[in-house]
Amino acid sequence: MNTAPLVQNGMAADTWLPDRHLGVLLAGAGASLLPHLGHLPPVLAASAGAMVLWRALIQWRPHLTPPRLLLTMLMAVGLAGVVFSHQTLLNRDAGISVLAVFLGLKLLETRDLRDAQVVTYLCFFLVLTAFMFDQSPLVAGLSILALWLLLGALIGFHAEARAIGGTLRDAAIMLVQAAPVMVILFVLFPRVSTPLWGLGTTTGHGVTGLSDTMRPGSIGELSLSDAIVLRARFTGAVPPRASLYWRGPVMEQFDGTAWSADDSSLLEPGDVRVRSDERSFDYEVTLEPHDQTWMFALELPKAAPADTRYRPDFRLAAREPITRRIRYRVSSSLHHEALQNAPPRTLRRLTRLPGGSNPRIAALARTWNAEGISGQAFVSRAIEFFARQGLVYTLAPPLATTADTADAFLFDSRAGFCEHFASAFTILMRAGGIPARVVTGYQGGEINPVDNYLEVRQDDAHAWSEVLLEGAWQRVDPTAIAQPLRIEQGMARAVPVGDPVPLLGQPAFAHLARWRHRWDALGNGWNQYVLGFDRTRQGDLMEALGLDGIDHATRGLLMMGSIGVALALSVLPLALPMLLPLLRLRARSDPAQRLWRRFCARMARAGLNRAPSEGAEAFTARIARTRPDLASEVTRVGQVYNELRYGAAPVNPERLRELRLCIARVRP
């Protein structure tokens, strides 16, 4: 079985790959394509898959091999398909499509080892590009599977006679051996914080989340999703739930039904100032991508993290839309004065309402104004009014029949979600001449007992009001006034039973929620320590290891040294059986044998080589025949050596000395 077919005269390996190893290669190619099915244009994904199958068919029916002309045509069609789907060849997504097309075509013309090697390299790239879309553990697992199959196929092509059981086992062993080195490289390889080139166009993936406009029902939609918006880890104490106002888009413009945020705030940056108390909360936010620039922080952040702007409406904004999970540290003060020192003309724009909209609220404000109520008293009066109005907090408010939705909410249906509350309250304020605006964001969050991260979900989405009194902004949460449970225990407990809240948010599913906590903590661990292992995390880890002060050269040495150790350790189990015979050889070499070796070496110098098959007796006998002058000493050497080596008696130092003397006497 051990003689492979004779390949003469340096000819390349066979030009037809063995079925079983090709099968493994095709499976590996399939596994590399699989994570792309979600975002490749369906036509291209289908044709790449078809070409994998076609190649499998060729193995059975070689006459189906496409001629070169057809391949060229397929290539042209494929590229045209990419251009048609992406409108270009030159962005990232188009590049991935081209890669998939190339892989399919290369497979079709794969017939020897070199082709197969190119195929595996293409697959490696394809696996890598999948991470641009999804870095979930599932995709990671799929990638490992692909890698395993591809390596198994390569091993098979280099040992064609092997069964795939053996090649796949060896591929798995190689991956396991490679893992420690991978971890070292991953931890120690220096990270940069800025991209080397543009990240390419990223189209929105239809992420749900807050938007920069708020119309009735827009936040209520979010409450049906329990997707995680952000996770926060507090360094010290966690503020009470009722204080967890995550500030998001601030809406200063109202068109009668919808509030909207203008990216250029009405207020000038120089006009705001935060006066906060000493007590502050430090935390690190891990924000899921939402394709917008705003970043969430508890009211009010003391300063903006690096690379972000602190806008005059007291919210943090990234310079670019957030298309990937980001992490930032913020320090917030919950007791603060947000001072606004804008000219009166600007402030008047914060009291502007479209003429004639919501006439009943406007009338109410006029009544109060006529009573001489203004300023703080007006706000208190409004709060009292909201508390007494019997407003119902519900996810399923009746549809408004008029354009004046705030009027309808406050006086007719009296049932609404937080955006109705915030909108109506703010309109009332503006109608009363008090500068006011709507703030959207999230309220609350839940500590995951598994990893102690505070998780904020889409169903925590909230809207509240802010009024400007005597030069300082004050938060008023009209929802909390009418339905305190919303703030204290969360949306699911505040809405009436029967409202469509997320399944796991319902109190009856508490035990399921425990499992969700574990699952979320797992996901968070993956995000934090695997995906989120960036420059900052690396720095933290180096610091924890006491390696933060080292320079690049030392770091490089450390990296290479540890890789060497890891390689040695991972391969040592393999090397041991190889080294053992050597060790045994050394151990076996007793004094008599050493003397015998010396004797043999001396004889060899005289041209008398011991044949490997010759024992001591045969060798000495031969010497005695060819060199009668040495016969007596040499024969004695043979006898004594044999006696010492193989005799029953324990080694006698006397005899050993005799052997030494005999050998010394032999002078060829």
């Binding site: 641009m132 190689m174 991953f186 080397l196």
Partner: protein, 319 residues
Amino acid sequence: MLPAFIRRLLSMPERTESEPITIGQRRVYVMPTRQGLAFGVCLAVMLLGAVNYALSLAYMLTFLLAAAGLVTILHTFRNLAWISVSAAPAQPVFAGEDAHFTLLLENRARRDRYSVRLVLGDASTQVDLARQSVTRATVSAPALHRGWQSAGAFTLETRYPLGLFRAWAVLRPAARVLVYPRPRYGERPASTSDAHEGSSNRRGPGQDEIADLRPYRAGDAPSLVAWKSLARSDTLLTRVLDAAQARQSWVDWDALPPELGLEERLEVLAGWLLDLHEADIAFGLRLPGTAIEPATGSAHAARCLERLALFTGRSPIRP
């Protein structure tokens, strides 16, 4: 050919080594192949992508592949190291034929080795070595000149498991082959009763009398087939030569025309001798200064051919 000191530095043997040659770890060289370099370029591009998009999993993938690449160095090395090599005796061949050198590759390890390639000049052969077994690997090289021909340096190499690296070792086992002179048929002296006195009572095989014809048996020399009678009767007959005559046949150096050079002379003698051997006629060999008494059989023929192959006599021939 590398200078001697470099060869020593690379521990490449200059001379034939005593066998079995165990490929110690210091003799194994490992270098990336073209595929390995391409793999490195791929990794570099992948790393750039990982850095640019700050994708942790892309880093991991790249590093895992790089680590697998490093691990394969050891696997490739291990696939070759500690093989014991010894040369099997090579069958003598005639000049102009291919000499087949067989090496015995002993795998003492408790694991199989795969795709070990034995290279000699332009020829190579690839074998798998099962655990704790001896595998024969044969490569051919043209036999050019009569005499002992040494195989020279063999290279044992492997690219297992991924083809990214090539491990090789240069070996000089005592593999040599005896090359007989290229036999030249049909140029024997037309008559033995010529030039030299000493050869007057000896006759070349061409002049043997046909004593009888017997039916052809498989293995009979073509030169003894009675082709003329085949034309007549459609049956293959073999000429049986006069045994008495044959017993006295001498393949004689001096029977050849004096104008022949040394090599041509040996070639003619070889052809002559082979004809006699194939005809199963006892013959002796007479060369200047040496002679082999007439006998029959393969061993005898081989002995005579060896004498021709190793003959270092005078040249040019005295008139």
